[in-house]
């Protein structure tokens, strides 16, 4: 059977990062031979993310609508027309671009009115920003074009339920996932020759922007290092951004320059290698829809110190088991979590093993499970059973 005659599944994202590729590949593998999976990338670049241009897909067809162009520079009506042209032949379309873009709502309604099934992919949650019921009610009406939603976790599920999903408009988890195997293969050498406990550092990965709470994190680290003395583990900061001068100034002022290392922005392939040698990933944002770097840490068996606003904490972090949850504003609390994570190698080993055990929840196969259930493919029953297991974990945190 040729590709042309197979029923088609469409996946749409603005720009592909490696984790979009992971999810498209996972879906492609799951439906190999039975469905044609088309992954549509709108543009090669965007103003928000410095991702490198994505490569080819093995298990799915990839279409880039505006090669070499920046997503934000393309007028929305041109994006709409191109997206519609690429996806109108699909039986079901999974839309992974925010509904704040006018072309996405138009596309959703166009597809809906022409008999397609349309699924929203989202990791928005109530506590991301101040909400107003009137605006949310309007949003709920506009989102009626979507037949179902694949969400990231528990808080996202509760939020889209408020927006009218649930019941016949299914809500399934699994959106914010990555290929655990890919991440582990990138760090294979580091995993085979693990760094000794004493040489491991706390690692932050992300943009140096206010919502990542990096200045408070550095203050907390200084407090930890002051208490730990000579035995203090270092802090490695991977990323770049407008706060870098303020961070460097703070590090100097706190007298911890010898222990804090700025790695600069690293390409996707390098991050797992750094993370694999970490004592713990530290991500204590004041606002974070999910935090996919936590999936990477879990894939590598690295403990996680994260804050309550970070969405990934609901599924991937259990305080005291594979890391610690802290209040984003609590410098002492973040410092206490660092102290605890570094307190003994035996405890760290336990945290690390518990983190690795959560890898299953972080994997892109969970996204493929959700797609399989919504497409109602032959393997949907076992996929539904796995989703049930995922939801049990989410319900623990409810």
């Amino acid at each position: 059977m040729s590709h042309r005659s197979l029923p088609r599944i469409g996946l749409l994202w603005a720009q592909f990062a490696s984790y979009h590729i992971d999810r498209a590949e996972a879906v492609g593998r799951r439906f190999a031979g039975g469905w044609d999976v088309t992954a549509v990338e709108v543009a090669t670049a965007s103003r928000t993310y410095q991702w490198q241009p994505s490569g080819a897909l093995d298990a799915a067809r990839k279409v880039t609508l505006f090669p070499g162009q920046v997503y934000d520079d393309i007028p929305w009506h041109r994006r709409l027309w191109a997206q519609w042209s690429a996806l109108r032949g699909c039986r079901i379309v999974f839309v992974g671009i925010g509904y704040d873009q006018p072309d996405i709502l138009c596309l959703g309604w166009l597809l809906r009115l022409t008999g397609h099934r349309v699924v929203m992919l989202t990791d928005s949650k109530f506590d991301d920003r101040p909400r107003w019921v009137l605006r949310e009610a309007g949003k709920a009406l506009l989102l009626r074009c979507f037949h179902a939603a694949i969400v990231a976790g528990r808080r996202q599920r509760d939020f889209v339920w408020m927006l009218g999903f649930g019941g016949r408009r299914a809500i399934l988890p699994g959106m914010d996932t990555i290929s655990v195997a890919r991440v582990r293969s990138l760090a294979q050498r580091e995993l085979e020759r693990p760094l000794p406990f004493a040489e491991r550092e706390f690692v932050f990965v992300g943009r140096f922007v206010p919502k990542k709470n990096v200045l408070r994190m550095i203050e907390a680290y200084a407090r930890y290092a002051g208490q730990a003395g000579e035995a203090a583990h270092g802090l490695r900061l991977v990323g770049a951004g407008p706060l870098e001068p303020a961070m460097r100034e703070l590090v100097d002022r706190l007298g911890i320059a010898e222990r804090v290392h700025f790695s600069g922005f690293l390409p996707d392939a390098e991050v797992p290698r750094v993370l694999a040698g970490a004592l713990a990933l530290v991500l204590v944002s004041t606002e974070e829809q999910w935090g996919l770097v936590i999936n990477e840490a879990v894939a590598l068996g690295v403990p996680v110190i994260t804050s309550f606003p970070v969405g990934a904490g609901d599924a991937l972090v259990r305080s005291g088991e594979n890391g610690f949850l802290v209040e984003a504003g609590a410098v002492d609390g973040i410092a206490a979590a660092m102290t605890q994570a570094a307190s003994s190698e035996a405890l760290w080993q336990r945290l690390s093993a518990a983190s690795a055990a959560r890898g299953w929840l972080a994997d892109a196969d969970r996204f493929a499970d959700a797609v399989e259930v919504l497409v109602d493919a032959p393997g949907a029953a076992s996929a539904a059973e796995r989703i049930g297991r995922f939801e049990q974990v989410l319900d623990e945190a409810a």
Binding site: D158, T286, S319
Partner: protein, 403 residues
């Protein structure tokens, strides 16, 4: 006419007064002395939901009980509304602490508003208390539009009330507070002994109902006790409720009966005394708007193990600082929290000190300051500064400039 009569009258109304409500009214009366009269209206002396002892006098305020010796639920909402309206219509500002799910609360709010009285909503509700639907919330927002302002518990309550349309109306924090001095005094009056670390016990205080997740808590405690062996701390359960039989059976199955103490309901003074001699308060509810017993624990400097959903978490519980925050549905997580608090006297003592340092945030003076700021045009600089400090401690940090 006397001088006091010429002062504006500030009304506070709740369905039934517990010691907490009396604390807040007395604090407000002290705060407003010489600037306003305080009228405290208790609708009924008892209710089917709470087994609180009947309240006594309220210092500094004029207290009126509208339906003495009757349960709140036994009185028809229209009769309650009429009695409240008659009692409160002479006030310039009325703080309504009845839930807005009560028809008389909404009716009272609208009628007072139409009579030109400023009406302030007091609430501990938050978005994550239960599943929400926009249509229902939109209707609720319309009904609540008569309120001029809101006095809420903390960060999540503020976000929820703003979601309901309080965007340009003032929303201040400080509702869920208690008189910490009263609690310390009660504890000292009953028992001044200070058990050593090994003798101290985990404590639960509350109704034995499903949302408190006592079954899960006992399973976690059993796991902790197995790991801790002979050094396991005991567990005291204060309260009663529909789940007690099941819980006792479970305790027997888990072979932890010898470590448990069931006290039944205790009065407020006895609870304070128990808390003061405890190891940690444990409150791992699946759903809890606030959890005022945490304020009581903090008042006597007790570490707290709470679930993430408990409303008091952000304000009064710092994970690994003043206790532990656990995932509400995770037996292993709760057991790990019990072990963290119970393992070492050194770290427990640090938590004890950190918990005591949060006492200021648990105190009903914060309620009085917020009420002052909402009703008076001449708050003192100390009031303004205290409220700013309180707000900074309770509300999550802003990320600053947009990224």
């Amino acid at each position: 006419m006397s001088g006091a009569r010429q002062l504006p009258c500030i009304g506070f109304v709740w369905a039934q007064f517990s010691a907490y409500h009396v604390d807040r009214i007395e604090a407000a009366a002290r705060q407003l002395t010489g600037r306003a009269r305080v009228l405290a209206v208790e609708v009924c002396s008892r209710s089917e939901a709470y087994a609180w002892a009947p309240s006594g006098l309220v210092g500094g305020a004029d207290k009126r009980r509208l339906f003495p010796d009757q349960a709140f639920e036994e009185v028809h909402p229209l009769r309650r509304w009429w009695a409240q309206l008659r009692a409160l219509r002479g006030c310039s500002v009325v703080f309504i602490g009845l839930g807005y799910n009560e028809p008389d609360a909404l009716l009272l709010c609208w009628t007072l508003r139409l009579l030109g009285v400023k009406v302030v909503m007091m609430t501990a509700s938050k978005w994550d208390d239960r599943p929400r639907r926009t249509g229902f919330e939109l209707m609720k927002a319309c009904l609540l539009s008569a309120f001029s302002a809101a006095l809420v518990g903390g960060a999540r309550q503020k976000a929820y009330v703003e979601f309901l349309g309080f965007r340009r109306r003032p929303v201040l924090v400080g509702y869920n507070t208690v008189n910490t001095a009263r609690i310390r005094a009660q504890a000292a009056a009953v028992d001044q002994s200070a058990p050593n670390f090994a003798q101290r016990r985990f404590i639960f205080v509350g109704r034995f109902v499903a949302k408190k997740q006592l079954e899960l808590m006992l399973r976690a405690y059993a796991a902790y006790a197995v790991d801790a062996g002979a050094s396991a701390h005991g567990f005291t359960l204060i309260g009663a409720g529909e789940c007690e039989g099941d819980l006792r059976r479970l305790a027997s199955e888990l072979a932890i009966c010898h470590l448990l103490e069931w006290t039944g309901f205790l009065d407020a003074a006895a609870i304070s005394a128990r808390l003061a001699r405890g190891l940690a308060l444990v409150l791992v509810s699946r759903e809890e708007q606030w959890g005022l017993v945490i304020n009581e624990a903090v008042a006597v400097g007790l570490p707290v193990i709470a679930s993430a959903g408990v409303g008091a978490r952000e304000a009064l519980v710092g994970n690994l600082e003043t206790g532990c925050v656990a995932v509400p549905g995770s037996v292993a997580g709760i057991a790990a929290a019990l072990a963290t608090v119970g393992a070492s006297e050194v770290s427990w003592t640090q938590m004890l000190r950190a918990s005591a340092a949060r006492t200021w945030f648990a105190d009903s003076e914060r309620f009085a300051e917020a009420a002052d700021l909402l009703v008076m045009t001449d708050p003192s600089p100390v009031t303004v500064a205290n409220h700013a400090r309180f707000t900074a401690g309770l509300l999550p940090p802003l990320s600053g400039a947009p990224d």
